[in-house]
Amino acid sequence: MEDAAIIDLYWARDSRAIGETGAKYGVYLTGIALNLLGLPEDAEECVSDTYLAAWNAMPPERPGILRAFLGKITRNLALDRLKRLRAKKRGGGGPRLIFDELAEVIPGGDRPEAALDRKELVGDIEAFLRAEPERARNMFLRRYWYADSVAAIAVRYGLGENAVSAQLMRTRNKLRRYLTERGYVI
């Protein structure tokens, strides 16, 4: 079913919207949730929560890209779940390696987030990524948005894992220099 038709089902409050969403994007959403949460049962609950959130969001929302819209919900819900699990001391470590890699980009872990203009920072990161070659940009997003493993990215792009790690490191370093020039990194 076309995305527009699925969105119409949500707007018509037709419960088939959930089934159609699951049929078309269930695997995609589960992949995101699993990358972040690690356990299939947690991922499954997260995806179910995504359907509920989508149901509550549409209307009034009418997403331009349904897949990314849903993926974003899943990603946010998975991160919230990670925090809850951590608070309950039930794991919730998440993809530590990915977090560690990103910690190099804007060092100073104790710097209050409130001190940063989030919207401006996001805009600057978007501008940086848009200026990157397509492959480097997409590999960065696969790793730091979709939380794909290096091995999965290597297969996706037909490269060795070392080549992927090296490319990601180059992009991170470049992003850090870019943000330094703009005063985000002191």
Partner: protein, 190 residues
């Protein structure tokens, strides 16, 4: 800012930007470009096998019927509408290369990235492979572990790039669907 906080922040990136990374990477057309050193290594390995263990090679070829459904032959499969005859002028075993190596066309090979090892060996064509752009995934069913007999490393890992010597025509389908390989003659580290 902690790595986790930045990771969360990236969730606010433009959806179109994010969705662009979901599309499968553009596949380049087969370039027929091989690395000379690798070619030499593969040729040496093939010659060594031919010289030392001709029986093993015959055993490998005898597995054709076992690993294809319905008793198909490699020729049958290559004549399917979805099949494509790969033109790799400089590939080992290609018509252009026969005089140098004495190999037959079916002894061509390709670079591949190991995707999974069980229950079959599933590979994806590597960027330097003549199969790049021709097939997304190839499943090699090794019923008799013939590739091991031909020198397949025992400690392969997903993500590793290898050279696979096999009859290409039987492997390639334009729609990218997986296909059993009738025979794999050799599998070597890049």
């Amino acid at each position: 800012m902690t790595g986790e906080a930045l990771f969360a922040l990236l969730g606010e990136l433009d959806e179109a930007l994010v969705d662009g990374a979901e599309a499968l990477p553009e596949r380049r057309p087969a370039r027929g470009r091989f690395r000379p050193a690798l070619l030499a290594a593969a040729a040496c390995a093939a010659l060594a096998i031919l010289a030392v263990a001709p029986g093993l090679l015959r055993a490998g070829r005898d597995t054709k019927g076992d690993s294809m459904s319905g008793g198909q032959t490699a020729a049958d499969m290559s004549s399917k509408p979805n099949d494509v005859n790969l033109q790799v002028p400089n590939a080992p075993g290609s018509a252009a290369d026969d005089s140098a190596t004495g190999d037959r066309a079916e002894d061509q090979g390709f670079f591949a990235v190991i995707v999974s090892l069980t229950p079959e060996l599933t590979v994806a064509p590597a960027e330097d492979s003549p199969l790049w752009g021709q097939a997304e995934r190839v499943v090699l069913t090794m019923t008799d572990r013939a590739p091991a007999a031909d020198g397949m490393p025992e400690d392969l890992k997903p993500g590793e790039t290898v050279w696979i010597s096999c009859p290409l025509e039987a492997l390639i389908r334009r729609d990218g669907a997986t296909l059993e390989a009738p025979t794999v003659y050799g599998l070597y580290r890049e």
